[in-house]
């Protein structure tokens, strides 16, 4: 019996004793899970960077953006990560508070609809939140119109998902004084609230809802990868809240030069041209060849909404209470 307790452990240890040679320097980038996956930008970006850096680029993938920050907080100053990539503006304040990040010293001409001058956090892509529905179906023109309609939507929980938190901020920014009323009116439109983006998007594709909270760029996936033009994002009069995804250098890194080199690489064409068709977001700097064919069909909101990291952190708890109370009636 001792054997059977002992053997699997040995087998397990043997399995994961990975052999990395200590000769080439290693740059560790901690990021969210879907970035690392075979279908995300990770593999292509690692290959492109390794061509020039003479290093080994390793990703540490962990959950979503929020999980990423939690992981970093768990590890604290002793973290082995050199770069953290994939936080969004709603998480920046908490990330800054950890004091784990160093200024980035990259100057780049960013193609964002807003000005960006954060000393530590550098954007690598961005997008607008939007409700994605089926082409040809009834499409509301505003959050208010959606709340007044009978359209059935599925959203993500702001307590466990970054898009969910984005919608919370969207409503609060568009209706600073009457967010609670808007949520109360939206309550009967909401089929359900899912823990993450994948579940919600899956429910929408299964036909459980007329629309799902996602991004204006989501239809581009269906158009480009599946040649399916049946999905559209709804343009709303109040403007669309943005998600800006950022990366930063860990202050305690043992590879400071490589980390700087990576951040500079991050806003270069080689990195940015990979983003649109793997992460399905807008690149922070439009590459020389422009955006892939198909992106021109996407809606471009007239008004971009975004709170500063500090404002977002300040109103989060109030907004969350309003949301919870309105939807718990």
């Amino acid at each position: 019996m001792q054997k059977s307790i002992y053997l699997p452990l040995v087998a397990g240890f043997a399995l994961c004793a990975s052999g990395t040679s200590a000769q080439t320097p290693v740059l560790q980038v901690m990021t969210y899970d879907s970035f690392v996956s075979e279908w995300g930008p990770g593999p292509a970006i690692a290959a492109a960077f390794e061509q020039t850096c003479g290093c080994d680029l390793q990703f540490i993938g962990t959950g979503d953006g929020a999980a990423l920050l939690a992981r970093l907080q768990l590890e604290g100053p002793r973290t082995e990560a050199d770069i953290v990539l994939g936080l969004d503006t709603n998480l920046i304040a908490a990330a800054r508070e950890t004091g784990l990040f160093a200024p980035h010293r990259v100057t780049a001409d960013l193609d964002l609809p807003i000005t960006w001058d954060d000393p530590e956090f550098l954007p690598f892509d961005w997008g607008y939140f939007a409700f994605v529905g089926n082409a040809g179906a009834e499409a509301p023109i505003s959050l208010r119109a959606l709340a007044d309609s009978d359209i059935r939507i599925v959203i993500q929980d702001p307590r466990s998902s970054t898009p969910g938190l984005g919608l919370l901020m969207w409503v609060k920014t568009a209706y600073p004084d009457s967010a609670a009323e808007l949520w109360a009116d939206l309550a009967d439109n909401i089929v359900t609230v899912t823990p993450g983006w994948s579940e919600a998007y899956g429910l929408f594709l299964e036909g459980e809802a007329d629309a799902v909270l996602s991004y204006t760029t989501s239809p581009a996936y269906h158009l480009i990868a599946e040649e399916d033009d049946s999905k559209v994002a709804w343009a709303f009069d109040e403007g669309h809240y943005m998600q800006v995804e950022v990366a930063a250098k860990v202050a305690g890194t043992d590879q400071p030069e490589l980390a700087d080199q990576f951040l500079a690489f991050m806003v270069s064409d080689a990195f940015q041209s990979i983003i649109p068709e793997t992460n399905w977001m807008y690149p922070a700097v439009v590459p020389e060849g422009g955006l892939p064919a198909g992106f021109e069909t996407l809606i471009t909101p007239a008004t971009a909404l975004l709170l500063s990291p500090e404002e977002a952190a300040a109103i989060r708890d109030v907004a969350l209470d309003e949301w919870r109370n309105a939807l718990s009636q």
């Binding site: 995300g40 999980a67 082995e80 908490a94 609230v193 429910l203 594709l205 989501s218």
Partner: protein
């Protein structure tokens, strides 16, 4: 727990297993609490979550058990072609990853599902699966199979001699044999399912329809991920453990110990089999309820199979290794604990059910991190944590069998002067092959579908099948993800079936 006449089995393996369970449940919780910056207690919203969690768990567990009793009875009384396959397949919902099962349920009960299509065709108004009833429906779907299996084992453990005696005396089988067995078995089954539903997270949230359906586990997730409030997470985890202890204490007060004497392992023959139609009706209804959503998972998965990239098959291989290792570890621990016996062991056997997977993962991370890069330990930790999380199920199955063997044969063994290991090898093991195989199958299948621990630890190279499936979904590739879900379903069932068959041997189930 039966008081044993003589202590004859070796005791230290049980102590070691109990220690491991305590480290991974209470120890990880302590690690999280230790790192916490304590600030304030639980909010009213947290208490609302506790209330919702307990109510849905009570209703779900109650309904699961009520539904399972007549089905288990019917399965125990009737012999028919395909019965063994049916019993194996019935385990499937319990073994499925939540995301997969929810998709299957929606294909049947969702807005565009079969039920609503039929209702629309009949001109009746549509039903919605989202809300409290949806949560309960999903939990019953998940847990009825487990309840049926565990209660069925209770029925099969009644010795044939008693039915023979009852028949020759023309005595009522139900009151004399079946009712005492149910009194002994059902409270434990209820407890297990209550605790499973207590720590539910994705089911409750996805089908619950909004923040009304917030469970404690979701509050823990929020505290850990968004607020990084380790103190609140630890407090909430303590509440979960508290609920577990209260529930366990109540259940043990209600349980009865069987004390009627041993049998000689003959095949059960029944003389009280009236009303076959009712039995088959029950079996048929439950089979339709369980298999239609599964059929939909298969139906939707087939087109996706062709889209699966090579990486997914490598991940599947990794998952199989994790499952086998976890099954071995889990059954070894369960056997060790069962042989040791006693109330303390019974408590360590249910503790993992009340443990929050997130707290265990986070605590393990905190314990491991100072020593070694967590990514290197992704697979071993997944094996270890899953073995411990599956332990209560294996122990439920094995513990009762071992207690029975001890009750019936311990004096004989002692009088023959068997050595401690000889007692285990010659007397116990051959008699508990069936529950041992069942326990191993459960552990293998459950760790095959694990998506909790691995997400916290996995680096680039340790992707398992559920993680690959989730990554496919995250990359918009829902159809390929459905294919991966089908592979996962097939592998989980195969692992369960192989262990279960191996354990069953030529026993006449």
């Amino acid at each position: 727990m039966a008081q044993r006449a003589v202590a004859i089995a070796p005791r230290w393996p049980g102590a070691a297993a109990a220690a491991l369970v305590l480290v991974l449940t209470i120890g990880t919780l302590a690690a999280v609490g230790w790192r916490a910056a304590w600030q304030g207690g639980l909010t009213p919203a947290d208490w609302a979550a506790v209330r919702f969690t307990v109510i849905q768990a009570l209703v779900s567990a109650g309904l699961s058990v009520l539904l399972a009793i007549p089905v288990a009875r019917a399965l125990a009384r009737r012999q028919f072609r395909g019965r063994a396959a049916l019993i194996t397949l019935m385990g499937a919902p319990f073994l499925l990853p939540v995301v997969v099962a929810v998709i299957g349920l929606l294909a049947v009960f969702g807005r565009a599902g079969m039920v609503n299509s039929a209702l629309a065709w009949l001109g009746l108004p549509a039903i919605s699966i989202f809300g409290f009833h949806g949560v309960v429906l999903a939990h019953v779907f998940f847990n009825v199979p487990l309840a049926i299996r565990l209660i069925l084992q209770g029925w099969l453990s009644i010795p044939a001699e008693r039915f023979r005696l009852a028949a020759s005396l023309n005595a009522p089988v139900g009151r004399l044999l079946e009712w005492p067995m149910l009194r002994a078995v059902v409270p434990g089954v209820f407890l297990v399912i209550f605790l499973i539903c207590l720590t539910s997270f994705a089911v409750a949230l996805t089908l619950g329809g909004g923040p009304r359906a917030t469970t404690v586990e979701l509050a823990i997730y929020q505290a850990l991920r968004f607020d990084f409030d380790l103190g609140r997470a630890a407090l909430l985890a303590c509440v979960q453990f508290g609920l577990c202890v209260v529930a366990a204490a109540i259940v043990w007060r209600m349980s009865l110990v069987d004390a009627m004497g041993a049998g000689l392992d003959r095949t059960v023959q029944r003389w009280d089999l009236r009303w076959p139609v009712l039995d088959y009706l029950m079996i048929g209804l439950v089979a339709v309820f369980l298999f239609t959503p599964l059929g939909m998972v298969v139906w939707r998965g087939v087109p996706g199979l062709a889209l699966l990239p090579a990486e997914v098959w490598a991940a599947a291989g990794r998952s199989v290794i994790v499952a086998v290792a976890s099954a071995l570890l889990c059954t070894s621990m369960a056997l060790a604990l069962a042989l040791r016996g006693g109330r303390m062991v019974a408590i360590t056997g249910v503790l993992p059910l009340a443990a929050s997977g997130l707290v265990v993962g986070t605590g393990a991370f905190l314990l491991v991190y100072p020593l070694i890069n967590p990514a290197r330990l992704a697979l071993p930790v997944t094996v270890l944590v899953n073995a411990v999380l599956a332990l209560p199920f294996a122990l439920r199955a094995i513990g009762q069998a071992v207690a029975g063997v001890e009750r019936d044969f311990a004096r004989l063994g002692a009088s023959l002067g068997l050595s401690r290991w000889g007692w285990v090898g010659i007397v116990v093991l051959p008699r508990i092959r069936r529950p041992l195989g069942f326990g191993a199958g459960l552990a293998a299948a459950l760790s095959m579908g694990d998506l909790g621990v691995i997400t916290l630890f996995a680096g680039e190279a340790q992707q398992t099948l559920p993680l690959a499936m989730y990554r496919l979904m995250g990359a918009y590739r829902m159809e390929a993800a459905a294919g991966a879900a089908l592979v996962l379903l097939a592998l989980s069932l195969a692992a369960f079936w192989i262990c279960d068959q191996g354990g069953r041997g030529n026993a006449d189930l």
